[in-house]
């Protein structure tokens, strides 16, 4: 068994309104930051997972994202396994 460091980035799916991202984007010009577009707010979740190999680590994390870390109706997960 090896321990794999994992980063899960949870974002709202394309087409799902992101009021936080929109509010940040609207505020930027007044703060002097022009030319910033497409702001989307999400969350990052870090942990380590025990697995015999990279492939099974990925499959466990995918399952975890589907069942618990995201709501697949409105959220996507981008999984990065650092090894």
């Amino acid at each position: 068994m090896a321990s794999f460091p994992v980063l899960v980035e949870v974002t709202l799916r394309p087409g799902i309104a992101d009021p936080q991202g929109a509010t940040i984007e609207r505020a930027l010009p007044a703060l002097g930051f022009d030319g910033v577009e497409g702001v989307r707010v999400g969350k990052a979740i870090r942990f380590t997972v025990e697995a015999p190999d990279l492939e099974s680590a990925r499959s466990r994390v995918d399952d975890l994202c589907q069942k618990f870390l995201t709501n697949p109706v409105i959220e996507d997960a981008k999984v990065t396994i650092e090894r």
Partner: protein, 221 residues
């Protein structure tokens, strides 16, 4: 006839629901989220609040509370189940109702009375109301913006499962949806709080027609 009101760690409307049920002429008892059985109840309410602190997402942890298997089984057998506010969020996370509740479009926690219209009477909560009837009910939420994909929305419309719509949409909800039901109408989720509009002292008794519908369905079981 008895209504079971499920208490999760972080629920805070359970006593409001008990009082509302009593105001509607029924009786209620509290159930603990860690119980694996529902005891001898004829209906179930998942009340408002912040189950498990709303950590990760509202309802994300509550879905795994031991009692939820029994709630799902009860619902499968046609038992009347209503999720109010946080309870609605729990029902969507648990897959007992479709869609999801996301942050209000205006990013404000909303705490006020709104008008909602009864658009379907096929649910256990609206069977005693008149189609088109407008009710003034309190809302009290940050994540009440109902969202679903187009296919789900088409299904909800075609099957007459959108039971309540906001007259003046406060939170950006898709199609002004304030409440929906399952295909059989026995599982209902809504963001407004009928139990907080069940006594003249509270400023409105408009919630009673909903609570009484629910109680009369429960009494017939």
């Amino acid at each position: 006839m008895k209504v079971g009101v499920v208490v999760f760690p972080g629920s805070n409307c359970e006593f409001d629901v008990v009082e509302g049920v009593r105001a509607g002429g029924g009786d209620a008892e509290l159930l603990w989220h860690g119980d694996r059985a529902l005891a001898d109840v004829d209906a179930v309410v998942l009340p408002g609040g912040f189950a498990h602190g709303d950590y990760l997402r509202p309802g994300a942890f509550a879905r795994f509370s031991p009692v939820m298997d029994a709630v799902a089984e009860f619902a499968r057998n046609g038992g009347p189940v209503v999720g109010i506010c946080n309870g609605f969020q729990v029902l969507t996370e648990a897959g007992l109702l479709p869609g999801a509740l996301q942050k209000n479009a205006g990013l404000k926690f909303l705490c006020r009375a709104v008008d909602v219209r009864v658009d379907s009477t096929k649910s256990v909560l609206t069977s005693g109301a008149a189609p088109g009837q407008v009710l003034r009910l309190p809302i009290n939420h940050f994540e009440g913006n109902y969202t679903c994909d187009q296919h789900t929305l088409d299904e909800l419309r075609a099957d007459d499962r959108i039971v309540l719509r906001y007259v003046d949409n406060p939170n950006g909800a898709t199609d002004d949806i304030a409440g929906i039901c399952s295909p059989q109408g026995n599982v209902v989720g809504l963001m407004p709080h009928p139990e907080r509009a069940s006594d003249p002292l509270l400023g409105s008794t408009d919630g009673l027609v909903l609570l009484r519908s629910f109680l009369s369905v429960a009494a017939r079981r």
